[in-house]
């Protein structure tokens, strides 16, 4: 089992190198097949690691360098079921992405596969690494390949600008992370996470606080939390659908998992006694991200941009979950990241089907034009129900764990917030689906944001050739697979119990430090906790589904609703919406300014409360 660990990164990278070397000389079908097999193989390896680390995490020392007198000499990976699950999610989505892009890109096809495999390897490395500088290296591997994939349709203005904003904001985030690494190395003289945490004793001082803030600045930018999210909607709405799958489905979550990966071994002990402060600030960022993302999603007419803001909203939920700083929260955040990441992936593929078949992504212009479709509406509806957390399926299971975690802290007010935000996101998509597939509702709605540039930016021109129906199948088939897996997670035997048990190890950094620095095997854990969602979770989920239906109906008949609610209320709401939309200007200078503002505010809050 141990020797599988390096293979999870070696396999995609070796395949990428081989494709670069020989791709020119081989038939495109062979190129595609090699890439697909490598991605599927990586999925298999990661799933095997999820299962294989259930009883004890694996610590893998690259180069065989064992610690010497308590000093870690090399780079290590630390594999636990939760980290491996995120890696498996990345690999599964990469497989789906390669399948969905089968013959999608006739020109430079092998470059596409090479970049997807590099992106995948970077994500797996980032999910598993236990060394802070190594995390930075994978952060950049992911980044560089993702920027390029976003700009794939470079002959249009949208993709270029989206990729540029993405690249610049993420590079600044990476630099902030690097300064944080330098600070921590200067203080502790170590790069291994457990080593750094072991050396940081006593209450937090200025250096530790600033290192933490810069780290947040970097990772929250990658994740797209407010106010670091501006690049996200620009990039996700112009990247080709097979790339959106990876960006939205897993890369954003990885940013947050990065915080978790670093927080527990390094900061949790020095911040002991300040948990409430850290929790309050991070949960506040999460709540803001979740609600603003949801409102922005509801205001979009472009399906890809709507899903981009849906991603922001759900990132907020994952951030809330992880920021509870309890085992339930950590377990819940991973389950949500996996289940909702798969759902978003499925929905993006449905949008891909619509765009490929109809040549548009605008809800209003597509009004009733997809009445002939049979399978896609069904998949779309399943996805929407996933976003609304329909019990008892995968996404619901994750959310119920978070609600349990919040209850145990006395923060039950989080449950209605989560319910309403999720319902707004689901309602936005349900409204769009009802318009497009059923032709319901008012045909126009001036309140919705349409785009200046072509609504299909980043996608291929629709064509009438024979390959098109095959292409539609190659998108619909992986979409249904992803949705089935997302929903089916709830029926894996005692999944939540396993997740809680794994999370209990994550939140016990002392045990991890002993395992890393002294190579002591971890003590056996107690019996696995059994878990079933509380009744209140079922009620909130039912409320969420109902609210989704109501809001979607209201969205379809917005004019009638605003007549009923009165002019003033409608005007206030419209003005607020305009303000919010205007902030997403697309100007890179604005975005970096918001990044600085976010960093300064977070920094000020933590500096004032922690020292």
């Amino acid at each position: 089992m141990t020797s599988l660990v390096p293979l999870t990164v070696a396999l995609p990278f070796l395949a990428a190198a081989a494709l670069a070397a020989f791709g020119h000389f081989l038939h495109p079908v062979i190129d595609d097949a090699v890439a697909l097999v490598a991605a599927a193989g990586t999925t298999g390896l990661c799933v095997a690691l999820v299962v294989g680390t259930a009883d004890a995490p694996i610590q893998y020392a690259f180069g065989g360098w064992e610690p010497r007198h308590g000093v870690v000499l090399g780079i290590e990976f630390s594999v636990d079921p939760l980290a491996a699950a995120i890696a498996a999610l990345a690999a599964l989505l990469a497989t789906a992405s390669l399948l969905a892009s089968w013959h999608y890109f006739d020109e430079a096809g092998h470059l596409w596969s090479v970049l997807v495999l590099l992106f995948l390897g970077g994500m797996v490395g980032f999910a598993l690494s236990d060394d802070i500088f190594n995390l930075f290296v994978w952060f950049e591997v992911m980044g560089v390949s993702a920027f390029a994939l976003t700009a794939y349709r470079k002959d249009e203005p949208g993709p270029l600008q989206g990729a540029l904003n993405f690249a610049i904001l993420n590079s600044i985030g990476a630099l902030a992370f690097l300064v944080s690494i330098a600070l921590l190395y200067g203080r502790t003289g170590g790069l291994n996470l457990a080593q750094i945490g072991h050396a940081l004793t006593g209450p937090p001082d200025r250096l530790v606080v600033v290192a933490f803030v810069l780290l947040l600045l970097g990772f929250l930018t990658k994740a797209g939390a407010i106010p670091f999210h501006f690049w996200l909607a620009d990039a996700y709405s112009v990247a080709p659908v097979p790339v959106c799958l990876l960006l939205s489905g897993v890369m954003s979550d990885l940013g947050l998992k990065g915080i978790e990966r670093v927080y527990w071994p390094i900061f949790s002990e020095t911040f002991a006694g300040h948990e409430v402060t850290v929790r309050s600030i991070l949960v506040a960022v999460g709540v803001a991200t979740m609600t603003i993302g949801a409102i922005m999603a509801f205001l979009q007419a472009n399906l890809k941009r709507m899903l981009a803001f849906a991603t922001v909203s759900q990132i907020g939920l994952v951030l809330i979950a992880g920021s509870l700083l309890t085992a339930d929260g950590v377990a819940g955040s991973t389950l949500i990241a996996v289940a909702e990441g798969l759902v978003r992936g499925g929905l993006f593929l449905c949008v891909g089907v619509i765009v490929t078949a109809l040549g548009d992504a605008n809800e209003l212009r597509l009004h009733g034009r997809a009445r002939h479709m049979r399978v896609t509406p069904l998949l779309f509806l399943v996805g929407v129900l996933g976003l609304a957390h329909l019990p008892p399926f995968g996404p619901f299971l994750g959310v119920s764990l978070v609600e349990k975690g919040a209850d145990s802290l006395g923060w039950s007010w989080l449950s209605p917030v989560i319910m309403v935000s999720s319902a707004i996101v689901a309602a936005a998509l349900l409204r769009a689906g009802a318009r497009i597939f059923l032709g319901l509702g008012e045909p126009g709605d001036p309140a919705l944001v349409s785009l200046q540039r072509p609504e299909t930016a980043g996608e291929e021109e629709p064509s009438e050739d024979a390959g098109r129906s095959r292409r539609l199948t190659f998108m619909a088939a992986p979409a249904s697979c992803l949705l089935v897996v997302a929903f089916g997670l709830a029926f894996a035997p005692d999944l939540a119990g396993h997740a809680i048990q794994a999370a209990e190890r994550v939140v016990d950094p002392a045990q991890h430090a002993v395992a890393v620095l002294e190579r002591q095997p971890p003590p056996p854990q107690g019996p696995r906790p059994s878990y079933s969602p509380a009744l209140s979770s079922y009620l909130y989920a039912a409320g969420s589904v109902l609210l989704t239906l109501v809001l979607a109906a209201a969205g379809l008949h917005r004019r009638r609703v605003s007549r009923a609610t009165g002019r003033v209320a409608a005007r206030v709401a419209a003005a607020g919406a305009d303000r919010l939309t205007a902030l997403h200007s697309g100007a890179i200078g604005d975005y970096v300014t918001w990044q600085t503002v976010g960093g300064a505010i977070l920094g000020g809050l933590f500096a004032l409360t922690l020292t």
Binding site: P6, A10, F13, L14, A16, A17, A20, A21, F22, H24, F25, A61, F62, G63, G64, R68, V71, L73, I75, A108, L111, L118, G121, G122, N134, V137, W138, E140, V141, V144, A148, A151, Y152, K154, V179, L183, Y185, G189, G190, Q195, R206, L207, V209, V210, A211, V213, L214, L583, S585, A587, G589, D590, T593, T596, V597, G599, A600, I601, G604, A607
Partner: protein, 247 residues
């Protein structure tokens, strides 16, 4: 947001962030007094364990060889990305390009320089374990040898020396070789990227086991990468010149 609003907002927040950063930096140990355990331990053990006199090289190519693999992959990804972004310049340019410089003397000097650069590049790749240098620096010098071919006036030769498929091949073999050496360690029953070759005599070229092999692999990858990068940008320039000429 108007430019004015943005600048005001940035000025305020950047002042705050700068203050925060400088405040945090003051928590570092005094300049010149660092004694981090990781670096000290490696300084103590690297020469004995790895027979490499350059401890930085031992870290880059052995203790933290995985970081270097990631670095090669970033370079690789960026080169693939640049090919992707600038791809149609290559198609449009066809064979109509002209040489940049005419004149036999310049060419002769240039070609002599190419020889020197290639030798220096190879030397730098090979000596990374003994003195400063190594795969990255040597690879860039090697690539610059090929760029001088262009500067010396023979763009067509340059194209002949570096056709994309062949350079892609070099890039793929270099990166794949690095990963492959890592896997070879596993085949010998050790860990991924373990130094499984005999270590040799300290201070000589053949010392330090896989460090030399990894240096060569990444030297190849880096040289190919920079040739590709520069070639893509040069082709942009060529296309631009052609378009101008057509006007």
């Amino acid at each position: 947001m108007s430019l004015r609003t943005r600048y005001v907002l940035f000025a305020i927040s950047a002042t705050g962030l700068t203050a925060l950063l400088l405040w945090g930096l003051a928590g570092l140990p005094d300049f010149g007094r660092f004694g981090g355990s990781y670096g000290v331990t490696l300084n103590d053990v690297a020469v004995a364990q790895r027979h490499a006199t350059n401890v930085v090289a031992a870290i880059v190519w052995d203790y933290r060889a995985l970081d270097t693999m990631g670095e090669e992959l970033i370079l690789f990804a960026s080169v693939m990305a640049t090919s992707l972004l600038l791809r149609e310049a290559r198609e449009r340019e066809a064979d109509r390009s002209e040489d940049a410089v005419h004149g036999e003397t310049i060419r002769a000097v240039g070609l002599a320089l190419v020889g020197i650069l290639v030798v220096v590049g190879l030397y730098t790749v090979a000596h990374g374990i003994v003195t400063p240098g190594g795969g990255f620096q040597g690879g860039v010098v090697l690539a610059s040898g090929l760029i001088v071919v262009y500067l010396a006036g023979s763009y067509r030769t340059y194209r002949r020396v570096g056709p994309t498929a062949l350079v892609d091949f070099g890039e793929g073999v270099g990166v794949g070789g690095y990963v492959g050496i890592g896997l070879a360690g596993m085949a010998f029953g050790a860990a991924f990227l373990a130094n499984f070759l005999p270590l040799g005599t300290k201070g000589t070229l053949a010392s330090a086991g896989t460090i030399t092999a990894l240096n060569v692999a990444s030297g190849l990858a880096v040289a190919a990468a920079f040739v590709l990068l520069v070639m893509e940008f040069l082709q942009e320039l060529m296309v631009m010149r052609l378009e101008e000429a057509e006007k």
